[in-house]
């Protein structure tokens, strides 16, 4: 293990004190060994380890989609315990917001949306979302999670898992097969030829729907008479043949093949996704484009994570924890090597614009304001109370102009790429100069109460802690002082302009 240590050789590189704590230490965790040894082979220097202020912000945003509150930031920075980062990760994994945020990300993939084009209808979308969130909160083992989604039968209201196979645009067996392969195996529609899709579709062919007396209720059930091809042999995606006796729902045979440790894609797909979610780049990238000609950048790393998942009893939180506690995750965002291989092999933490929902929640949190959300079709099921956080919205049809502008996924296809976090001129215009954001900063109780809270120095400290989760540096204080002294605006306006500038900075808008 000592040989894998990268600490000594790299001590010479400069450290940006606000952002970085120092070079990586000895690789204690397996993830660090696997990544650093790969970097060593390639002659790539990893970035430094990030500072505490960067870490707390990153961990909160990545794991819970939530900005750390000022009080927690202060406490964390004062904490002298050497193990405080691991403790913070443990507590964030148990937070309510963890379930909120990951229910949101799963709802993108599982296409939780009431209206066009998915058309689950409002109350079914709500039931589906509630089930997903509970599964995440209560740590439902991932194998059971998948098995239930694949094999459920019953009412779309009371057996919410059936909505997974209802949530396809085309609502035909091929569409279902493609949704299953994309979600649980990482295969896209163009990865396989049509006849292979048709073979897989046979597992879903006997699925039938009937309506009930209740509005938009639909019973999903196995109809043995619906099988078109009398051949009881089915071809699995790996080419193997499986016999399904007459009268038996072939979805079970499919689940028995997919949801097992030996399946070549099932565990791989999910650990690779979690890695992508936290690290901004998949070991196989894009994470939902698994193909023979798209190999992983670090096969051993991927294999290790799969073993860990199976050994943990399919506990996804264990994988989150392993990754977040590694030094690799805690590298700074300032690369020490510009080559593409550095990014591909995780030599630094890549900056990414905040998700639409996370960004507006963060702005609301800072300013003490709320947003309104609405659905195209207003119904009791789609009523959203004023203080509802955007990461906890249940239904993709409930939205706001801000979320649309900032690239919230439409939940049409279940592809990860639907979430668009690329910045546009329109978005910057909105953040810099819209009445929407301006009103929150100026009239919202959050910034106003900070401005009344004490002498100028304290106000500036609190604005920095609230917005950027850190204290200002002396040269930043100098810049602010010059601005205040310029006499162009009064003191209050100067503080508003400071809050405005911080909210529009890269440090606020990007995970880093």
């Amino acid at each position: 293990m000592g040989l894998l240590s990268t600490g000594l050789g790299l001590s010479a590189q400069p450290v940006y004190p606000r952002l970085e704590a120092g070079p990586p230490g000895p690789a204690r965790y397996k993830i660090d060994q696997l990544v650093f040894s790969r970097l060593g082979q390639l002659g790539i220097r990893p970035a430094n380890i990030c500072s505490d202020v960067v870490f707390i912000r990153r961990a909160y945003l990545d794991l819970t989609g939530t900005l750390p509150p000022e009080r927690q930031v202060r406490a964390f920075l004062q904490d002298r315990d050497l193990d405080k980062r691991a403790r913070l990760i443990d507590s964030l994994l148990e937070a309510d917001q963890f379930a909120d945020y990951w229910a949101m990300r799963w709802s993108d993939i599982l296409r939780v949306k009431a209206e066009f084009p998915i058309n689950l209808w409002p109350n079914a979308a709500q039931a589906y979302y509630t089930w997903i969130k509970q599964a995440i909160r209560d740590r439902l083992p991932y194998d059971q999670f998948a098995r239930q989604l694949l094999t459920a039968s019953g009412s779309n209201f009371t057996a919410p898992q059936v909505n997974f196979l209802r949530a396809t645009q085309s609502k035909d067996p091929v569409g279902m097969a493609q949704a299953v392969a994309l979600t649980f195996m990482g295969f896209r529609a163009d990865a396989w030829p049509q006849d292979k899709w048709r073979q897989m579709a046979r597992f879903f062919e006997p699925l039938s729907y009937k309506s009930t007396g209740q509005w938009k209720e639909q019973i999903v059930y196995f109809d043995p008479t619906k099988t078109v091809d009398p051949n009881r042999h089915f071809i699995l995606p790996d080419g193997k043949d499986v016999f399904v006796p007459e009268g038996q729902d072939p979805r079970y045979a499919f689940a028995d093949w997919l949801v097992v440790p030996e399946n070549p894609w099932f565990a791989k797909n999910i650990v690779n996704r979690i890695w992508y979610w936290l690290m901004g780049r998949g070991i196989i990238h894009e994470p939902d484009d698994i193909r023979p000609d798209n190999p992983p950048s670090n096969q051993q790393l991927l294999a290790f994570l799969q073993e860990e998942l199976v050994a943990s009893g399919w506990d996804l939180r264990h994988i989150y924890s392993l990754i977040a506690k590694s030094q690799v995750y805690q590298l700074s965002c300032i690369p020490r090597d510009d080559r593409q291989e550095a990014a591909v092999n995780f030599a630094y933490y890549p900056i990414r614009r905040l998700d639409a929902e996370v960004l507006i929640d963060a702005i609301c949190q800072i300013t003490g304001t709320t947003e309104s959300y609405s659905s195209m079709i207003p119904e009791p099921f789609t009523f959203v109370p004023q203080d509802h956080r955007s990461i906890a919205l249940q239904d993709g049809s409930i939205t706001s102009p801000f979320l649309e502008m900032f690239g919230r996924p439409p939940r049409d296809t279940g592809l990860e790429s639907e979430r668009n976090n690329r910045i546009t001129a329109e978005q910057r215009l909105h953040l810099l100069n819209s009445s929407h954001i301006q009103r929150k900063l100026v009239q919202g109780p959050g910034i106003r109460s900070i401005m009344r809270s004490g002498p100028p120095g304290q106000v500036i400290n609190r604005l920095y802690l609230t917005i950027l989760s850190r204290f200002p540096t002396p040269d930043e204080l100098q810049v602010i002082d010059t601005y205040v002294q310029s006499g162009l605006v009064n003191r209050q306006q100067a503080m508003q302009d400071l809050a405005w500038a911080l909210v529009n900075s890269v440090e606020f808008l990007y995970r880093h």
Partner: protein, 445 residues
């Protein structure tokens, strides 16, 4: 079989629909299905489109397809349609200004899709595609933005697809083309001074303070400076540059209607729709290829006639002023004006409470109006029956109108559109995609 089945409005069974979709996929993989319009060649007469979206569905009988002989239960109080400046064309009696401009526009009286639900109809009218397939298609505005916007070398400060003032949401949008092709919705109200274009004009912040703030931001944005060279940061900086050209540069002036003569503003009408029409002219004058005016309030289930007396004069005045103004400036030849809602309204009036003289949704036949950009004026295409209930002659499906506009804009029907499934998708769908057609509008092109 598919073909026959798809002609039956609203009666497609699930199983049949699935078969048809599967057949469609088959056709795509086996090679390109026969194009709807043969080898129609784009002409590129038009450079821009002003879409007047009659949100909610305007009554065809009370606007461009009057039926004075159908009786009181169909016409209500509007039984005296008026002559226009084109012999033989009559229009609704409240459209007095448009009557003087009829030589500039053509009326399509046989639009049809048979759908009576707002969302689905709005989708079909603005995409030319049936709803419910695997993909969500882009609206005309997004397609034009794709072919005429930044990717095609558009350099304007103003985004290439502008909505005045409120967006319709998902049904007028980029579909699978993605958020890059979504419209820029101005917000605010052009009839007020200043027109607070969301993001561009901020109330109560002087230009001087804008500049000072911008400098403060650049001094405090340390991480951006440290990460120079990172492509994300380069994009961030470039987007900021563009944003400030709109806030502090020439962009903001485009939205300043005070630059227009007061008399002209009056001619358009000092109301939101009137000033939106004037704004649309200013935008196309500066090269913006697609402007949608979302004109609300046409979903008149109740007390329809009171609403028409209030709204039609406003619409008439603004639209007539727009046609005249575009024409006088020589812009009409290169600008398509497209007036349509998602459907028409029930020809037979419901006099009972709670409707008290209301009209419901009607997708079997409705009217659209087109002018400029290569469309001839002074013509009528197709006809509805004597009570305006069904198409009598020359049906025009949404795809026919959209396909005609694309030809005039020089957009190739057969050009590929990138999509997340990597499917072979072209600008115009085919019969195999479930798209209905009765042919390009050659009679007015």
């Amino acid at each position: 079989m598919c073909d026959q089945m798809l002609r039956v409005d609203l009666a497609i069974s699930r199983r049949q629909a699935i078969r048809c979709i599967v057949a469609g996929i088959g056709a795509l993989t086996l090679g390109r299905a026969r194009s709807l319009f043969g080898q129609a060649r784009p002409a590129a007469k038009a450079r821009a489109v002003i879409q007047i979206w009659m949100w909610g569905g305007p009554s065809h009988l009370d606007t461009f397809d009057p039926k004075p002989d159908a009786g009181y239960d169909y016409c209500g109080p509007f039984s005296h349609p008026i002559q226009t400046n084109v012999d033989g064309i009559i229009i609704g009696e409240l459209l007095v200004n448009l009557a003087k401009q009829a030589d500039k526009f053509s009326i399509i009286r046989s639009m049809t899709h048979g759908i009576n639900a707002h969302e689905t109809a709005a989708y079909v009218v603005q995409t030319g595609r049936p709803a419910g397939g695997r993909l969500v298609f882009p609206s005309v505005g997004a397609v034009v933005s794709f072919f005429k916007g930044y990717q095609a070398g558009y350099k304007g400060l103003i985004p290439p697809y502008v909505v005045l003032t409120e967006p319709q949401g998902r049904f007028s949008e980029a579909g699978f083309l993605g958020s890059r092709y979504k419209p820029f919705a101005t917000g605010g109200d052009p009839a007020k001074t200043p027109f607070l274009v969301e993001g561009i004009v901020a109330e109560g912040i002087s230009t001087e303070r804008q500049r000072a703030r911008r400098q403060l931001l650049s001094q405090l944005d340390r991480l951006a400076a440290l990460l120079k060279g990172n492509p994300e940061i380069a994009e961030f900086e470039q987007a900021g540059q563009q944003a400030y050209e709109l806030i502090l540069g020439e962009g903001a002036k485009v939205f300043d209607l005070a630059e227009e003569p007061e008399a002209l503003r009056q001619e358009y009408g000092m109301n939101t729709f009137g000033q939106s029409c004037l704004m649309a002219r200013r935008l196309v004058e500066r090269g913006v290829p697609y402007v949608t005016i979302n004109y609300k309030g046409w979903d008149t289930h109740k007390q329809h006639f009171q609403a028409m007396r209030r709204m039609l004069p406003e619409m008439d005045k603004a639209m007539a002023a727009l046609l005249k103004d575009l024409s006088e400036r020589g812009l009409l030849d290169s600008t398509i004006v497209w007036w349509s809602g998602e459907f028409g309204r029930t020809p037979k009036i419901d006099w009972q409470p709670p409707w008290n003289g209301g009209r419901g949704h009607w997708g079997h036949v409705f009217s659209a109006v087109v002018a400029g950009g290569g469309f001839k004026g002074g013509r009528v295409v197709g006809a509805s029956d004597e009570k305006g209930q069904h198409v009598k002659e020359r049906p025009v499906y949404p795809a026919d109108l959209i396909g005609s506009m694309y030809l005039l804009l020089g957009i190739d029907h057969n050009a590929a559109l990138p999509n997340p499934f990597g499917l072979d998708v072209r600008v115009m769908g085919t019969e195999a995609d479930g798209v209905k057609s009765a042919g390009i509008l050659h009679e007015i092109m």
